[in-house]
Symmetry: C2
Subunit: 157 residues, 2 copies
């Protein structure tokens, strides 16, 4: 139930991202059943290519704990992390990663990546996939569908 | 000469990092021969696992240009980027990467990685390696040597 609960909060953040015209990905960082950070992708609003939900959660988590080592923290994110975020998760020493939809194009956990297997950082990360997968994927599909229509001018009809 | 000049500035930043007791890595972001950002690793001072020199340069570059797309920008960094930074560089659409020392353990460009070859992002990044390599590597060796001695108490002798 714990994973479902925090993923639900991450999905709320993804919906908030959509309202802000950002790719809808949300993340929640938890330590000892305490929510440290709830955030979402802010690449457009911050004009920052690194402002994925996971990076913002890791940055803010370190600030709150006054420690970049996020030992015993769990990160919930609605989409499989990309290489940038997967590497950041490993380097921040997060203990548990729970994600929703798979990202066939950029996912660095199971879809495109071997980052965990290569064991560059020597950390052991517990990974749980597929929580809230359907809803997370649906949000993304809706977002990209709306934006494709915008590009083709169909939104004006 | 251009690459040598900007790498020299990046090495100055790496030395500044060392003075702040950070792993000595520096970076300079340039667009059209204009220096946008000079920065260095600030992981400890910010308590942020993502605060590598490259990430800080990309973030600040986006803020200055008010555009996360760093087209036509060149990034100079004293150490081969890790997976997090290499992926961020590709996603930010930086055109040219010039780096100094190789990182046999975590380097994602040539040492441990196939990120460029996997072409996840479909970008074409020009890469030049080995500029200022010797000095960059020496700074890192000195830093880790001092810190090893600290750990073993030898600095008290």
């Amino acid at each position: 139930m714990k994973h479902e609960y925090y993923m639900r909060l991450a999905l709320e953040e993804a919906r908030q991202a959509m309202l802000e015209n950002e790719v809808p990905v949300g993340a929640v960082l938890v330590k000892d059943n305490r929510i440290l950070v709830k955030t979402h992708n802010k690449k457009e609003v911050l004009q920052d290519a690194t402002a994925h939900a996971e990076i913002l959660a890791i940055r803010e988590g370190g600030r709150i704990l006054q420690n970049w080592r996020l030992d015993d923290c769990a990160l919930y994110v609605t989409l499989e992390p990309c290489f940038m975020c997967a590497s950041a998760i490993l380097q921040s020493r997060i203990k548990t990663l729970v994600y929703g939809a798979r990202d066939a194009k950029q996912g660095a956990i199971e879809s495109r990546g071997t980052l965990l297997e290569s064991n560059v950082y020597g950390n052991s990360l517990q990974v749980y996939a597929g929580y809230g997968e359907e809803e997370a994927a649906e949000l993304l599909q809706t977002f990209f569908s709306i934006n494709r229509n915008k590009e083709t001018g169909l939104h004006c009809l």
